[in-house]
Symmetry: C2
Subunit: 523 residues, 2 copies
């Protein structure tokens, strides 16, 4: 049956597709409720949108459980592709579109350290820890590959919750680090997970490890390249054809469709759609956005944010609703003590797995960035550590991919791993998420002062003077050279590349792809 | 499998769901192409967006046919609900949201005459004509119910094409008539079609006819009521809770979700979702729109238009692609002559079926609106007649519902009816659509002059002075009373209701649901 047949079959939707209309109606209604409740709780110190959505999802789940007399707690049986084809792209694209590019690229080295090296370290620790402790707790039956999968599953962070607390204007460096890591981390986890799934059952060796890393580097570069390409094509088309001349609707549509096309193309070419759509978002806000009419500029900013917001709320709502799925609970054969032991172990491994890379890598980053006005203090390191403790939709998605076949599993061990994942996601989101606001306001209490004092390099003026500084400081930096050659090697190139890039951008890219020529245009 | 399982299953989309990623990529790419080509052809006198999309769809179909070595011409196999659950609601909601309400309600009686009475007349003529002529052409095998279905299938108009040519600011009365009729007509056709499907095979009698009309009136009023209710609730929530205070994203999301909720609720309650979402759109633009922040006002206007635009282009693209579906053509057993005879007959019946109500009802409308500054001249009647000749997605949807089971049919007679419908849709869209621009510019060449001369009652000032006029003219109208009591009965109430409604709106509705109190706010 094709589209047109679809037209016909669903006219009297209410009669024939009550099974679809009922859940859509309930879900949209509950989403509206989430928005209203989230708005009313905006001033609250303790909760945020994600927690609200999970709790409302849980309450809806209970209502449905009671109404269906214990048969089911979720009402929506989705197609498999829902999350990765429809919900994730708008979230990631919006992330790229709204990111403050200057901050992101100035901290690019640190972000990649956290997002790539960090995932490898965290995966190693969680894999080793669970391999050692699971059998001791009486939980047997997982292969080496399963343990490696567990490592990646619990290494993918969900920073949505934290980003609702941090503010881009108040703590720009911290925000860009947490945010940037979140995106790179997502991509790394998914790519690493896929590489592990491709392994055969044998024990991993050095050669295999290098292959995984090579595979990762290939995916990272090609995915980024594709995103950049699609972004540039969009900018060029909008600029060359003067789309806004006739209607701003058409230029809006082109931007939305090209953004989605970048993701679809990446998936088609077996690249990482997450990275592609993220870089496409960055390129679109850097060039294409300047080629549209004034009203389209306002509209794009808001419409991408709205789509991302609805997708996020939807995911949390569903996670809350799914937590009560009794089918999965029935299959869990373990005792209460064993279960609690495993949950505690996993949360503990997440805590130390993240600590094991945040603090050393922060120290390395401080070493490399000695001339930075504000180093990553211990307080800031704690926030970065805390910000990535929450596990979310990606973890659940990966767990289902590893331990079920089309969402169904008859293996009690695998079913237990699914419930473990859901419990860890709920626990980290609710408890860690709950404590984020108080923690952040305890550790950085004067965020507003910070903002007015301009202590962080956030104003465009500082950015504009950057090339000048880098010339004046060249003598001083020669003296420093002996002291920290590693830091120079990593840090100077970052600034120099940034400087030459801006020159190149102004001379060649901006005239072709659009946007103002001033240095101030970048943040 | 539920949502979460879906998360997991589709991570490596490219490997497991190449069957879905390929068509989505191709479709989005072709949609982008349509937008670019549509933009380049904007100045053209002959083509418009719909025709461009159909032609590009046809060309894509040929490419796919060649690439797949004659196996298939369409790449996307959709779920049944695609059209009625995802594509139609944004189109109709946007229609309601952007309509100029003053024009729409001042012409409400005429619109309902065309949209409701017209469909009944047209259905009767097409049913009778095909019942009489089909057997003479050698096309046998349809029951009475099938013939009635044929009547409604070919009575649903597609005014998208025409509305791209007419301009709301230049010819407001004509635009609101064509536009309003289009919406009411869609709803009427679907409701009438459903009523006919419920009939048993026996011959229709007077009693049954009255039942159908009663059913129709019930659906019309309840669907409208539901749309109004959801629109008012949205406006009240936005006003009472000051959503814009915290973020404009949340108020945007609420508007989009509530709009969709109105449609879903209507389908759930077995009402007409089309009517509900249309009136919800009107109410939202009348009240809710005034309760949001300035940037949300701009964003909503554009985002609803964009969603509608993409959905429309998508439908036309698909119709073009589906026209080459060789499966359906193979089953058509009729000779070329017979086929051509049937196509010509159907197009002829559409022409006279529409003429049979447009000209008499226009005359009736002129009679009722003697004091109207600008009556429906013959030229304008011809445009109205022409505007509704094009058949589109709704016709195809209804045909598939009647003549296939989940898009598949093994009955050669039914397969022939499907190809007949596709041919008529293509012919009317391409040929009639092609001639619309030249016809309109031939019949009303000085649309811009009209606009500057303010001959049509379009400025808010005229509207504001309306209650005054109705008092002064009361003596004159008493004289007229004897001459045309029918006209008075229909016309005066319309104006009086409009007047009292505005008083009521300013006194009670606006303060509760939002919006400026001035009389000028309505258009």
């Amino acid at each position: 049956m094709d589209l047109i047949s679809g037209f016909g079959q669903s006219i009297n939707v209410a009669q024939e597709h009550a099974g679809l209309v009922v859940p859509i109606t309930v879900f949209v209604a509950v989403l509206c409720l989430c928005l209203v409740v989230g708005h009313l709780l905006e001033e609250s110190r303790w909760v945020n949108e994600s927690i609200t959505a999970i709790l409302i999802g849980g309450i809806s789940g209970i209502c449905i459980l009671v109404l269906s007399k214990g048969k089911s707690s979720h009402i929506l049986r989705f197609n498999e592709e829902l999350f990765f084809i429809y919900l994730l792209p708008p979230i990631i694209f919006n992330a790229g579109f709204q990111v403050k590019k200057k901050q992101f690229f100035q901290n690019f080295v640190t972000i990649v350290l956290f997002g790539v090296v960090g995932v490898f370290i965290s995966t190693f620790i969680i894999t080793a820890g669970s391999m050692w402790a699971f059998p001791k707790l009486g939980f047997l039956g997982l292969t080496v590959r399963d343990y490696l999968a567990v490592g990646t599953i619990f290494s993918s962070t969900d920073t949505v919750c934290t980003l609702q607390v941090l503010h881009q204007d108040e703590t720009p460096v911290l925000y860009s680090l947490v945010f940037g890591e979140g995106v790179v981390n997502d991509a790394t986890s998914v790519v690493l997970f896929n590489a592990i799934q491709k392994m055969d059952g044998t024990k991993p060796d050095m050669h295999r490890g290098l292959l995984v890393i090579g595979d990762f580097l290939y995916l990272f570069s090609t995915s980024t390249g594709l995103g950049v390409l699609v972004g540039l094509v969009t900018a060029y088309v909008l600029k060359a054809l003067h789309f806004g001349r006739h209607s701003s609707i058409r230029e809006l549509s082109i931007m939305v469709l090209m953004a989605y096309l970048s993701y679809a193309l990446a998936e088609l070419l077996e690249l990482s759609g997450i990275l592609t759509v993220f870089f496409c978002g960055i390129l679109m806000s850097h060039y294409a956005w300047y080629n549209v009419t004034e009203s389209s500029k306002i509209t794009t900013r808001h419409v991408f944010a709205m789509m991302s917001f609805i997708a996020e709320t939807f995911i949390f709502l569903y996670v809350g609703m799914d937590a009560l799925d009794i089918e999965k609970w029935k299959m869990n054969k373990m005792s209460f003590q064993t279960s609690m032991g495993i949950y505690s172990l996993l949360v503990f491994l997440i805590l130390i797995g993240r600590a094991a890379f945040v603090f050393p890598l922060s120290a390395a980053s401080n070493l490399m960035n000695k001339q930075r006005t504000r180093p990553l203090t211990l307080k800031r390191q704690i926030i970065i550590w805390w910000a990535g403790l929450i596990r979310g939709a990606v973890s659940i998605a990966l767990a289902f991919k590893q331990f079920t076949y089309s969402g169904v599993t008859w293996d009690p061990v695998y079913a237990t791993m699914i419930t473990n994942t859901i419990i860890v996601v709920l626990f980290t989101t609710l408890v860690f998420g709950f404590l984020t606001k108080p923690l952040v306001s305890y550790l950085i209490p004067h965020t507003v002062n910070e903002r007015t004092n301009h202590q962080e390099p956030k104003s465009p003026k500082e950015d504009a003077s950057l090339p000048l500084l880098s010339l004046q400081e060249s003598i001083a930096s020669n003296v420093e050279l002996a002291k920290s050659s590693l830091a120079m090697f990593v840090e100077r190139p970052a600034y120099t590349i940034h400087y030459y890039w801006r020159k190149f951008d102004n001379a060649y890219m901006r005239p072709i792809f659009g946007g103002p020529l001033s240095n101030r245009s970048e943040c």
